[in-house]
Symmetry: C2
Amino acid sequence: MPKVETFDRIDVLQKATEIFHKKGYNGTSMQDLVDVTHLNRSSIYNSFGSKLGIFMQVLSFYQNAGNKKMGTEIVKTHNASDTLQSIFEWYLNDIIKDEDRKGCLIVNCKSEMSNQEPLINSFMVQNQEQMIALLEDVVHNGQMEKVFNEKQTAGQYALYLYSSIQGLRMTGILNTNENELRNLIKTVLTVLY
Amino acid sequence: MPKVETFDRIDVLQKATEIFHKKGYNGTSMQDLVDVTHLNRSSIYNSFGSKLGIFMQVLSFYQNAGNKKMGTEIVKTHNASDTLQSIFEWYLNDIIKDEDRKGCLIVNCKSEMSNQEPLINSFMVQNQEQMIALLEDVVHNGQMEKVFNEKQTAGQYALYLYSSIQGLRMTGILNTNENELRNLIKTVLTVLY
DNA sequence: ATCTTATTGAAATGATCGTTTCAAAATTAA
DNA sequence: TTAATTTTGAAACGATCATTTCAATAAGAT
């Protein structure tokens, strides 16, 4: 059997995620990745195949990390209303704590590459479906609990919330006022009650 | 007196806008610009200074073209409710008619560069202020007409609408269903009534 | 201990990046 | 028609791009 990978894959993906998030896909060079990961060029190619290859793994890493962290917040809630609140609260916190105001890696990537790169497009379609399915589930529960209205179907509200989240992430790039953002969220959620 | 510019500046900016819109700032090369504008490399530098220079002019061109076209729709309306409807209808149409699903050049640029390039950041701040001022004015009128509620101030609703528009533009990149988008808009506007 | 196989390190690949150079061409005021 | 001035065209700039090459290194299996 051969020599085995010596580097910490999680750590490398973490560093790669940071630089891609900060500079975007086209703005990040292979040299940037070599610098921040402290991996050799050939090790990156050997382990990830290509720049697009490592970026796809970065996207999944970012998505999974977000899901996991948001999930731990969600499980603390006990009704649909609180769940939705905590989802938006998580996004708000993610915006506030990022002093670089980079926005969401996935939203940024969608606008940069979705219309150009089939692999990215597929990822984005899957991401949207997953997000909307989650939101639809929450809304549906809230409607069963009679705390959300039924003027629109859960699916329709899910698309509205998904779109609102993307808007929130874009707005958070320039607007740093926590109170304004919190009020924005409140306004968004008003529709459901 | 010297020789004067021979090329059509509007036409050049139009072509440059198309390629920047399709490929993004970092994805567009000077060679791309030479190819699509049919201008010589040195003519571009002589007239626009740099890649960032021509891009800044492209951003303004895109912004002005949008304002103008949306303006002609707005003047046809006679109350705040119709005005807001026609604004969103304009964005919907802009999404539907773009078979490349590129999204909004300004939103895309904001996510790609706002955190990296001061000139871009300034443009985006100005763009946001302009957009919000316009929306605030419309909402304020609607509130005076008693057709919009006053649960939130016009300024608060303006930020909500601005955020919703960005969300709509991001959603429109992947979602091509006109009915779903129209329903999304309807849901967004529900808040005001 | 040796064989096998994969990961490394360092250098080099050709292509493309944004920008500059400079002489030739072109235009208008005098 | 000439002088003044700027735009053009074509080539070249050094730097950087993503990717490849290949010998040296390292480690589990026999």
